[in-house]
Amino acid sequence: MTASSSISIAIVGSGGAGALTTVNLLLEAASAAGWHGLFTRTLGPQIRGGEAAGLLRLATHPVDCLPDQFDLIIGIDWLNAHRFGSEIKAGPQTLVISDPRGGEPPPMVTESGARVVEIEMKEIAKSISGGRPNMIALGIASRLLGFGVEQVFALIAKRLGGKGTSAMEASRAGIKAGFEAAKGVRFEAQLEKPVPGEVRRWLLSGNEAAALGAIRGGVRFAAAYPITPATEILEWLSPNLAKVGGVLLQAEDELAAINMIIGASYGGTPSLTATSGPGLSLMIEAIGLATAAEIPIVVIDVMRGGPSTGIPTKSEQTDLNIAIYGLHGDAPHLVLAPQSVSDSLFTTQWATYLAEALQSPAIVLSDQFMGQSRAAIERPADVAFIGARSVATSISGGYKRYAMAPGGISAMALPGMPGGQYTADGLTHTERGIPTSGAADHLAQLDKRRDKLERFNYGDHWASIEGTGDIAIVTWGSLTGAAREAAARAAADGLNVRLIAPRLLSPVQPERFAAALEGIARLLVVEQTHSGQFLRYLRAHYDLPAKTRALNRPGPLPITAGEIHRAIIDWR
């Protein structure tokens, strides 16, 4: 039995069975003890009674992706598990704890060669007054992972403290019974002890991280229309904006939400909305207005399976095209993508800063995987990106809102400033903002809006570029973690691999990308789309090596580090 640097657990149960609560408690117990972790939910669209599984990976190092396969799978019941069985990979090394009264394990378990141990979780729970099977599962998992029962009790006391003594006693009894039931169960995988001395662990989702990043970047107004899987951003912002003197307004639809933030930003308040694909589609027209009228706004799109209603609860990277190319007319704007739960904070903050500095809309492409995963991470560092737009001062007649200023960024008058009166307009306009259909004015303003974005120095944050070698993985967004892990495994095999993951998707950075490709002979493009949107984007804007391959697949199946690693190794 050798300890490894990461371990993975899946707990499966029908919706409402408490599988997700159990996994969340395990994550909290582990992070309190000093491990890093990532907790992903996989569930159907039903509010209750559907399928649900909590997927947890714990490690001694930061984790940004799921494992290739799970070390431990606990099936409280297997009721609808076949619906997402393919998302939970098992193998001969996997230990499966199954309740014989919870239905048949799905083929993904029975055909994997995994060792199955039956424990009657439901029966044990029945023997405890107020007992719940998920607490039995928590006890089992705690024992197998090597957590002390007292450690888990302490956590339960903290979490369930408000639920009354009887609920607490039932939970304690359940955990203890599970702990006893797992006695003697052989479990080979063991997690190395956490690196000592680490402090200030945070537990949060990518959606929460993005929301905090927005506030750190200066956002003080948000307009909200609920949509899965972005709603948590808005729900976190509502009370927290109020604490910092800001406000959130619920909109009647996404058309209203996007226009509300344009209005607020026109008045001088950095503003944001968050949505997913269907909402982004509705917002596109007004994002074009913000481009033309040069109003800074931030739109977070937490991507889900598409097109149309698609798969609301599962991840995909298929809004790349609409985010970059969806606007009619020549409408340059910012598109950015965070690369992990932790990076959701930085990238959203940076996006807010850039939107304000460049008086441009910024679309932040997060996804369901990142947005709804909860991670135990180190506290993200404070960064100096705080939105500050160029505001007109001491206006003395003949104010030109859209003056041909150096760098294309013209000072913005805010309502209330005497002499700055102008009409912001989606119509093609002159430097003074007056509508025109003249060719010269049209060209001048198109040049201005292009130049301000293209001439800005975005610095090293534009991409993650790591490693050396003549083979590179190019990916983006939440796949960066899996690609990074694949590169590390290849390095362990003696093959150096470079990772290139742009955080800034628009405007494109041809010189920087060319420099990143220096010495690269083979390029593997990894993305979670069916049509290869990212590869097409790269081909449109950058010179790629003749030997370029794609590893792409639509959602909801995640692309694992193992698959990327194999694609690299097989290409030798």
């Binding site: 929460e208 307009a223 604490k243 800001g246 007004a286 009228a293 007056i434």
Partner: protein, 278 residues
Amino acid sequence: MSGPTTRHACKPGDYKSELKPIWCPGCGDYHVLMSFTRAFAQLGLPSENIAVVSGIGCSSRIPAYTNCYGFHGVHGRSLALAAGLKVTRPDLTVIVASGDGDGYSIGGNHFLHACRRNIDMTYVVMDNRIYGMTKGQPSPTTEPEFDTALTPGGTGVAPFHPLVVALASGANFIARCFSGAPNETADILAEAIRHPGFSFVEVLSPCVTFRPDEKDWKEMVRPASVPETSDQGKAARRLMTDDGFNIGILYRGHRPPLQPAIGGAGVELSELEKDFEL
């Protein structure tokens, strides 16, 4: 009206920009513009503290013809844009200008929710019962038999009743004006701006190009014969039964406007991080 209270000695001309309107000669909207500037002068509002927000259509060109801050946005969304502005800048006087196509058709949903939300702003819809800028298609207020190229022989669809909809949706002030009476319109606009909450002012504003029949409106309008009411039941009956030509303030409600607290230093950002610390 929660805007600045400083009274300046203002003339209507102080609120006019140098731009020449694109409207057809004889368009009712010229008079609406005149009523805007007269109302602003009457209230003594500094022009830089007024924001005029609009969508798309002939009437929506009005912001740039004033010397106020303006926003000429996308079609139908002016109320939403104005809501974001007013909530974050309660110091401003916010006027939203729209037409029957922009406001009642593409922007219909926002109309309902703006009434319901009751943010302190004044919504002026210049109703000419036609899409003018696209050369004469029926709008939600066009009569069912009105013949157009798009709907030969008429739409056969009953018109929308904006004042009734406004009342049912919670508007806090409802009035009807006629563009051909700019002084009366200015007085009502000033009253609408003063009144807290969402004020809705429908202005009958003839389209002389595509609806020459509307030149007759000046003979058809009349001051409302009953005084204004704050009783929603009475107002509903009256609005349901009027023929659309009664001019005046028809309803004045007393619902408190929505204005969330904003500004102030607030807590340190590190306070927010406590949510995430173990």
